[in-house]
Point group: C2
Chain length 378, copies 2
């Protein structure tokens, strides 16, 4: 047993009833592990967009201020009043953050399964990962192959399982090809590698010319730039070629989701032999799974009646497909962790650095290709 | 056999490649009935919003002009150039119009089923109903009880089956109450009667104070006026009371679909015990089945991730539930034709009147409560 694990620093996010966001580091006791639990010294935890929602909420980044003392830093920001209503369930409640991470098992409960993990490097899913120590159940840990560093296993769940699930959704809902937006992201690059391996046709939508090049260099066939004047024609052409009728959209706001449906419909109508006032009978689906653009989604409904736009989340999907299927996906992630599922981070920061206003301003920008890794043990 | 049925007038809609809408009356031969077919003298056919899409298309109503001679009237209007692309499959093709109607069987094929209909008043589904005579299959006819006038049976399919299907969708998709927009329409009043009969809680959304009164007089409990400043609060209250998580929206454009989702989410979040950054896990569904407002749909996504907005059409739904289930719905319509499924028309017009510009301008306005009936035999 490692005695220094009795307490550890933990990052906390609090939004007060008066509308102030407070991010702080607190020293919290590490719970003793039950028989089927282990204590992990967290060494790497990514800052995913889904973490930022909880960490920062809808705070106004222009009001960010550092306070507290160096040993106990606190950073504050203001929440616009009209947005407080939607947060009522978390007000005045200090919340730990961090969906996933990786580290080394430093203490284990009495069960054989727990004992077997002692000293192993494991990936973890379960919240509160921006902590120096995490006590959690054996089944929340994924033992990594010998020689895997925590930083290499930090993003084993959210991005890999999301990318794999997109292909699963495609198969289960009867589509035969995929569209993905923000396609040059870590997740997008992973999805591109999966589709190349599995022979699934993927239409990648990016917002910048340099992102086009990144994907083409990674072997992507269909890359459309939404900033190009030829975007609608290019996308229709790619959809005609691939027959894709399912899109996963990380952006959410603006016209993009509707444009995808319009182009899918143009590709579908071109295949029709007879006119229908209701448009094509081809069902066209866009799932919005992120909100890089929080602006309203604007749908110009020129795509017939066979369409759907909806929110999509990983966890309910995994619950739906069941434990056995999820286990297969996890095993593939571990097997291809350094290839298909490799993540790239632009910077590794400590817990204290995660509270510096200029660093918060940088990682909260959601720039594609800019991804931060927190190392709570630094 | 009725010799005057050899030919009959038929209303036709044509959009030329150059962008001109032409509505005309043509004398067409009445096909001889096959063994399992009958010829019906059409005496009543409603002008549903779904008919207007085919009849008028996206023509600019300010450019409506009468031409032709009195005996062969033609009316023309211009289609804005940018809208022609979506119509490519119907350009230069003269199309008959009219989804449904009712009339008297004046000639019958040799089969027993066809002969049994001779002289009967029947409701019909099958297109081209704005015709003096229609030859169609026995199974497309619904014999009406003795004493039913064609005008009473003209709207046996589109509105009644749509309203009944909304309740069916609710049950099949696991919802327990309904929201309906444009709720004072003929269809909305029918749905209100069905829900009262079946004990289903219905939240009616209207756009005018007088429509509120109409529905309350018909026994509706929950009526919200989207033009009221208290709309969002009223709707949230009604959704909290009823637990409705499914809406059918006839309007389509603007913010309404998103407002419904927002209010459903507020009702759902109020029931939650724990905060989730992803919002409630309650699935919220809006089906857009009409487009009274062709403007873009604007979704301010403040309703978590468990939501879906999609197009909904009657025919694919009926195909999905199968012939036996559809037959049950049809039987209920016939049994309650003069009560639950009674339609009201503001005016009955002849085929020639349907081509008068001032009458077209009136019926194309989609005013709730204003509904026209064409009597091709007048």
């Amino acid at each position: 047993m490692s005695t220094d694990a009795h307490t550890g620093l933990q990052l906390r996010s609090l939004i007060t009833r008066s509308g102030e966001l407070q991010i702080s580091l607190q020293r919290v006791p590490t719970p003793e592990p039950g028989p089927d639990e282990v204590v992990v010294r967290v060494e790497a935890a990514p800052l995913n967009p889904s973490d930022l929602g909880l960490l920062i909420g809808p705070a106004d980044m222009n009001t960010l201020r550092a306070s507290g003392i160096a040993a106990e830093p606190v950073v504050t920001a203001q929440i616009p009043g009209k947005l407080l209503r939607g947060l009522s369930a978390r007000l005045d409640e200090s919340m730990p953050v961090g969906n996933e991470g990786a580290g080394v098992v430093v203490q284990a409960g009495s069960s054989a399964a727990a004992q077997a993990l002692l000293g192993r490097t494991v990936a973890m899913l379960g919240g509160a990962m921006y902590s120096q120590y995490r006590t959690l159940k054996v089944q929340q840990c994924l033992p990594l192959p010998q020689g895997t560093r925590p930083a290499e296993g930090a993003s084993c769940f959210v991005n890999p399982l999301t990318a794999l699930s997109m292909v699963e959704v495609m198969r289960r809902e009867g589509h035969t090809a995929l569209v993905h937006t923000a396609a040059a992201s870590n997740l997008g690059q992973m999805l591109n590698r999966i589709c190349l391996e599995d022979g699934v046709q993927l239409v990648n939508i990016v917002r910048k010319a340099e992102q086009e090049s990144v994907l083409r260099e990674l072997g992507a066939t269909h890359v459309c730039n939404s900033a190009s004047p030829a975007f609608m024609d290019d996308l229709t052409q790619a959809l005609t070629t691939t027959g894709a009728t399912l899109a996963f959209d990380a952006i959410g706001g603006g016209k993009l989701a509707g444009q995808i449906l319009s182009c899918m419909e143009m590709a579908a109508v071109a295949r029709m032999k007879e006119y229908s006032r209701y448009g094509s009978t081809t069902h066209k689906q866009v799932y919005i799974y992120g909100m890089l653009d929080p602006a309203p989604t604007e749908l110009t409904r020129n795509f017939g009646m066979a369409w759907s736009v909806g929110g999509w989340l990983l966890t309910p999907f995994l619950q739906k497909i069941g434990q056995a299927e999820v286990q297969k996906l996890r095993e593939r992630v571990v097997a291809e962790l350094k290839t298909t599922f490799a993540s790239h981070y632009s910077r590794e920061i400590s817990l204290a650095e995660a509270l510096q206003p200029e660093i918060i301003a940088a990682y909260s920008k959601f720039s594609t290709g800019e991804k931060y890794l927190i190392n709570p043990s630094r």
